[in-house]
Subunit: 416 residues, 2 copies
């Protein structure tokens, strides 16, 4: 049996390594989700209902309802929710991912990332920038106006530019950015710069109005986390073909809804294994402290699910100063520890600081439980109250409970 599991996990690793995530389009959510409607709101993490949502997710939901024009005020929006008119569903149930609160609604534009090696597509919204943004629970008029600009100005331009480029190979950008100090979760400055460098010649050709070209360029150039949402879509596009491999104990997704952390495992398909989320340890922006922090949240742990983020901290020592993770040696140690719980190494995502070893890839539920080492995740930290936004960044562990529950289910399924 162990041999069967090993073979299945090797197959999963091969599938992950063979992925060719490519940005092929920008479309509206209503175009890509069959049967989607304005009153359905997609959120980060495993399933959750309004009553259980944390402050920033509630804030984001009320903002999203206003963004869709279903209500003029926050009070009206809340009334719609309480009257049961709004349906909630996880991004992952629609082939999508979203950072932090992870709001994806009907009119929002989404990146379409296709895994060219396997043909599957995944979706993620466009990164809004830092600070007071909907993914961190902010929901004022400025937040909503920015989202409308993404929808009406940025998305059509990106769509045309990507088409003219014939798609953009994200794996090449990510691999290069890893040699430039990005870990692709809390540090995307290299990847975002490389993405701008790649797309700008096409934007120049498709955006005729000079003012608009300038606005779009400044928006992308001004957001060092612009690539995060692309890295997330890459992650889901990379992992989706590794679902449902009989006997494979590789984790295919990790995500959090602000209350519970959920994981999925290859051989158990779409089943969620959940446990309460932990509090990140990190550094706070001026004026904020750990008291303001919301617990761990977002689909962005998909980045760690395919070996980046906290798993490749060794390549991004500069990030330890942003997430408060210690010294250079700590960064090295985080990555080294993750080799203990993974099936193997990436063949494309390389860490120069570990003598060009591939990143630790393919989290094995058995190894996690056996060694008692939980996956490490680099994360942004939202204010716990609705409407505020990001207050810091830090490091958090996936709760061991998810992996223990998964192992029980695997045992039952495999008659162990």
């Amino acid at each position: 049996m162990l041999e069967k599991i090993e073979q299945a996990n090797a197959k999963a690793l091969q599938i992950i390594n063979d992925a060719q995530p490519t940005l092929v389009d920008v479309k509206y959510a209503y175009e890509v989700f069959p049967g989607f409607d304005k009153k359905t709101i997609l959120h980060a993490g495993p399933p959750i209902q309004w009553e259980d949502m944390c402050g920033p997710m509630k804030g984001a939901v009320l903002g999203a309802i206003r963004y869709e024009g279903l209500a003029d005020t926050e009070e009206e929006a809340e009334k719609l929710v309480i009257n049961g008119e709004i349906k909630f569903s996880p991004n992952h149930h629609w082939g999508a991912v979203g950072p932090m609160t992870g709001m994806t609604t009907y009119s929002m534009p989404v990146f379409v990332v296709k895994n060219e090696a396997f043909g599957n597509c995944t979706y993620c919204t466009i990164n809004e920038g830092l600070g007071k943004v909907m993914r961190f629970g902010a929901n004022n008029d400025e937040v909503i106006e920015r989202l409308k600009w993404l929808e009406r100005a940025l998305a059509p331009a990106l769509k045309k530019a990507i088409a003219l480029a014939g798609g953009i190979n994200l794996k090449v950008i990510a691999a290069q950015a890893l040699t430039m100090g990005d870990e692709m979760h809390q540090r995307n400055v290299a990847a975002s710069s490389l993405f701008l460098k790649t797309i700008i010649p096409y934007l120049i050709q498709v955006v005729e109005d000079g003012e608009q070209l300038l606005e779009i360029t400044e928006f992308i150039a001004g957001n060092e986390q612009f690539f995060l949402n692309l890295a997330m879509a890459m992650g889901k596009a990379t992992m989706d073909p590794a679902y449902n491999i009989p006997y494979s104990t590789v984790v295919t997704a990790m995500c959090r809804n602000g209350k519970n952390f959920g994981i999925r495992v290859s051989c158990t398909g779409d089943q969620w294994f959940e446990a309460p989320v932990e509090m990140p340890k990190g550094l706070y922006f001026p004026g904020f402290s750990a008291e303001d922090a919301n617990p761990d949240m977002g689909d962005s742990a998909i980045v760690e699910s395919f070996g980046l983020g906290g798993f490749c901290m060794a390549t991004a020592p500069a990030v330890v100063r942003f997430v408060g993770a210690g010294t250079f040696q700590d960064a090295i140690n985080y990555s080294k520890q993750m080799y203990e719980i993974t099936v193997g190494k990436s063949t494309h995502y390389i860490l120069p600081n570990l003598d060009f070893e591939g990143t630790p890839t393919g989290i094995d539920v058995i190894k996690v439980v056996d060694k008692g080492i939980a996956p490490v995740i680099n994360t942004g930290i939202a204010h716990k109250e609705p409407g505020v936004g990001q207050v810091g960044a830090g490091v958090v562990n996936a709760p061991m409970g998810c992996f223990e529950k998964a192992l029980v289910a695997i045992g039952e399924k495999l008659n162990l």
Copy 2:
């Protein structure tokens, strides 16, 4: 006396650390060099005459004469040189620097980099790209046409963009790029991307013609070494205020003309101390080998003179694979060794991989000779024949003879 030297070297280090190199303009060489004429050609390294020049420098000179319209063919150009109509002079004698052959002629546009802390300006041509380019000794029509395009299209656009930006702070870009795996001599991919990100909004505003904007954007985006020439001008702008500090034994410039390596030292002002250049050890492009290599050449060792390049290899482990310098640990060791021969550390250029220490800064002639450790330099490698171009990249040491000669001269000057 040793105390006086220590104090003087501390002052030199302070001056280097206080530098604020800023890109303030692009002008033509004839605008910035008083008394310059079309028949004067500036070259890399200490003074050298035609008879002593290596193959690629001769090739570049003949190309430069054609570029200036003084001759139609290579034969005519060579006749002008042999008849003594062309004067040769080092870039350093005109406040300038140039990579590899370092050609700077009358009509060429130069970056104007001002050290805002001290008011001095330095100049460097615009990087032409990789491969068959004049700085590596190539000189065919394609090379000359590209230089004409730099002169007529790129330079005026950059000039306007820099003016609109109100100058561009290069120190900020360089400091960030060092946390992104650039060592700023053989690896400038981060700095070049950050520079593009910084200047593109201004280029969009000043270049009205869409075709031209595209051409300019693709040229900058397509050259990962674009920032090298800016780093070199930064280096000279940073070091020039450290000349002529009585008692200071800090090296203010290192450069090579393909035959001799020359250094200048603070307390001895403009005097050159020379020794034959060494051969780089490196990796060669497909089809070339060490047999094709020209000895060490270029003013680009100004980058090491202010603590970057080979001195900060620790931050750029990815470069060891390009220059053939070994493993991650070798990269760390190169930087650690350079602390042995420097006065102190940079306060702005930081190496995350050495736990955020500053780069080794301020080469002390006394320490170099005393410890027998020669400065390490990352370098491009030109083909030894004229007209070919770049064949590889590698690592080379400054020859100890320069430092020994300098130490003798310092001893005489200070009556030691």
